[in-house]
């Protein structure tokens, strides 16, 4: 069995060749250079072992989770080789590729936003299927399983682990369980952005009085000056135009939206998402709720407007992507003198455009 082994799911680039029962490997830090480097390294390793492409029997590739682009690079190459040479393709979790031989292994990779990709393996057995946990949850798991090996680049958790034997692990996965039966349609595992999956876990519901303290925390984290507790209570109970919804993950409030519908137009006053949960589509879910309310309002709502600080690039990009257009700049709109960008999204009622 001669096999080519590929992994670029994290910051390294690993190319291995298991040829005539011997392992040769090339592995080094190649963050954002994997696209340039991987094919030349494959070329090099085949050549220096005198291995002709016709002698290869299998290709093994890590399939994620990890860096999206990185995972796609190894996967695109592996699929192309499998197609060109008609070779069986084996796909291995990039976490399983980090395991410590046959010992129980907690395999970890930084998923950013204070979270980790985690999978727990013991030999061929999967003790915990690959998933995402907060770093706090991961540390708790580790504390409860002191006898397990910690695997992967865990410096982001303030921990140490020995270097993983990725190529040895990939070779050990040449079996029926890892064989990809449809190599043409093979696709990476991203975990983090199965968009549906994320949106199922987040619930959007109207604000209740007992949520107010959490909203005050959010305000303090996200805005200057923040809305006050009394102001929020007034909007919730007495302001007939204001609508407030929270985004809830498990039992925790991680975001909220505050908007007003005043007859034919609506204004977004706030969209706040806790820092650790940004870039996960939660703002989008909150905005969708506002759009839904506008659509269902008794009087048709034609415009959704908002002001955003001119310096707030993330928010401007968020709104621009979702159909808001820059209309004008409101000078010195904020109390600290900063200008506001006034953005508008027209809302259209089912028009017949089917011709």
């Amino acid at each position: 069995m001669n096999a080519l082994l590929l992994d670029s799911s994290d910051k390294n680039l690993t190319v291995g060749l298991f040829y005539q029962k011997k392992m040769d490997e090339i592995s080094y830090f190649s963050w954002q250079r994997q696209s340039e480097n991987m094919v030349p390294e494959i070329d090099k390793i085949l050549e220096r072992n005198g291995c002709q492409k016709e002698e290869l029997d299998a290709i093994v590739c890590s399939k994620g989770p990890g860096s999206y682009t990185g995972v796609r690079i190894a996967m695109s190459i592996a699929k192309t080789i499998s197609f060109a040479l008609n070779l069986p393709l084996y796909l291995v979790s990039s976490l399983e590729a980090l395991k410590d031989g046959d010992r129980p292994s907690v395999c970890l990779m930084n998923a950013r936003a204070k979270r980790s990709y985690i999978g727990v393996y013991q030999g061929k057995e999967v003790l915990l299927k690959d998933t995402i946990l907060t770093n706090a949850e991961v540390l708790e798991f580790i504390a409860e399983h002191k006898d397990y090996s910690i695997c992967g680049d865990v410096s982001y958790l303030g921990l140490e682990a020995k270097a993983p034997l990725i190529c040895a692990n990939l070779v050990s996965c040449i079996d029926d369980a890892h064989r990809c039966l449809e190599p043409l349609g093979a696709r990476p595992i991203y975990l983090k952005d199965d968009y549906e999956d994320i949106s199922h876990k987040i619930a959007i519901r109207p604000v209740k009085d007992e949520d107010i303290p959490a909203l005050v925390d959010l305000e303090n984290e996200c805005f200057e000056p923040p809305y006050t507790e009394n102001g929020l209570r007034y909007d919730l109970h007495e302001n007939e135009f204001a609508r407030l919804y929270v985004a809830v993950r498990k039992t925790e409030i991680i975001g909220y939206i505050h908007f007003s519908i005043t007859f034919s137009s609506a204004t977004i006053n706030r969209i706040a998402v806790r820092k650790a949960f940004r870039k996960e589509g939660i703002g989008g879910l909150l905005l969708d709720q506002a759009l839904k309310d506008c659509k269902e309002a008794e009087e048709p709502v034609d415009f959704l407007t908002l002001e955003v600080r001119v310096s707030n690039e993330n928010a401007k990009e968020f709104y621009a992507k979702r159909g808001f257009e820059k209309v004008t700049i409101k000078r010195a709109y904020y109390t600290d003198g900063e200008d506001a960008l006034y953005m508008v999204r027209p809302l259209f009622h089912e028009q017949n455009l089917s011709d």
């Binding site: 094919v39 494959i42 999206y68 682009t69 796609r72 695109s76 192309t80 043409l184 259209f348």
Partner: protein, 345 residues
């Protein structure tokens, strides 16, 4: 005579084409439009994922159609830019892998050069020529004095014309992509709304579209405030007249100034019927030849990449296997591979 396999994955189409001595043997395009429609535009991460899923399916189909084997191919070509970076990576890996496995040259192709050379499928290029390159990502006037000799004499300073169409379409309630619906609705309307022709930026043949986009939005909004009904067809017509008028005016003036023998249209917006008819009308009986690409060439495909690759193959413009993508690659920079590029082994 060379057999070329070309791969294009710069935006939302995964495409593979195979040519033999200029003859198109296979032209496979897997479009993602249906997916991106839902988001009102191309989502780069989703596009990159779909390329990864589709790439070898397209390769398989193209080989089947061509009746060739990979061993028969003389060179592997790929779009290395401009485009969406995550998308470009996928096509690049496939092309580099094939070049490595079969020890054949790797040819880096510029996406817009591809759109220009797509016209070779319908007519012979005559120099000097003016290429009007108009798409979702570009608005450029390119002067060519000879094959593969590109000089950009005008370009947009902000939005591309296609991008402007998509945004205006959204404001008017049309689906993505916005070119076709605006074109259709404009035929039902009159130019009744006063939209300012954007002041030309510093350089004579440059374009600016962000002002036009804002004018439409402001006008739509102020009509709303006054409680007036928006006549969607008239707005589409008014917008199209100004947006396309600017391109036609610049192109005709440049064609005259540079005494070109031919004008060619290229890119997604060249499918616009008003642009096609206006260019035809204005160039009639001027002695300047006009090539309008067939509709299949106005969208992204790999056949056009193969056309450029044929030229580069003859010039031995080959890239090393360490080739990377360049999302902002300039059209006249292909010759960086002219001397440094070595044939793959």
């Amino acid at each position: 005579m060379s057999k070329i396999l070309a791969i294009e994955s710069s935006c939302d189409e995964t495409a593979v084409a195979i040519t033999d001595g200029g003859k198109l043997l296979a032209n496979v395009v897997a479009t993602q439009i249906a997916v991106h429609e839902k988001f009102g535009g191309v989502m780069p991460e989703i596009a990159s994922r779909l390329h990864t899923e589709n790439i070898t399916v397209c390769l398989t189909q193209a080989l089947d159609e061509s009746g060739l084997k990979l061993e028969d191919i003389d060179a592997f070509a790929v779009t290395r830019g401009p485009g969406l970076i995550g998308c470009l990576h996928v096509g690049l890996q496939a092309a580099k892998t094939l070049a490595m496995l079969y020890h054949k040259p790797l040819i880096p192709v510029h996406h817009l050069a591809g759109h220009i050379y797509a016209n070779e499928y319908v007519g012979e290029l005559k120099f000097p020529l003016l290429a009007v390159v108009v798409s979702g990502g570009n608005t450029e006037l390119v002067l060519m004095r000879d094959h593969m000799d590109f000089e950009i004499i005008g370009e947009t300073k902000d939005d591309a014309v296609g991008e402007c169409y998509d945004k205006v379409a959204r404001v008017l309630g049309f689906p993505y992509p916005g070119g076709l619906p605006i074109d259709k609705h404009s035929k039902l309307g009159e130019h009744t709304y006063d939209l300012p022709t954007p002041a030309s930026p510093a350089a004579k043949y440059d374009f600016s579209y962000s002002g036009l986009k804002t004018s439409v939005i402001n006008l739509v909004h102020s009509l709303e405030m006054k409680g007036e009904t928006l006549r969607v067809n008239d707005m589409a017509r008014s917008f199209q007249d100004v947006a396309i008028g600017m391109i036609v005016d610049h192109a005709i003036e440049a064609a005259n100034e540079y005494h070109v023998a031919q004008v060619i249209l290229a890119g997604g917006v060249s499918a616009n019927s008003y642009l096609r008819s206006e260019m035809t009308r204005r160039l009639e009986s001027t002695g300047i030849d006009l090539i309008i690409p067939p509709l299949w060439c106005t969208t992204d495909n790999a056949a056009m990449i193969a056309k450029v690759a044929e030229r580069l193959y003859d010039k031995k413009v080959f890239a090393p296997l360490s080739l990377g993508v360049d999302p902002n690659w300039k059209i006249d920079h292909w010759n960086e591979f002219l001397s440094s590029g070595k044939e793959t082994k």
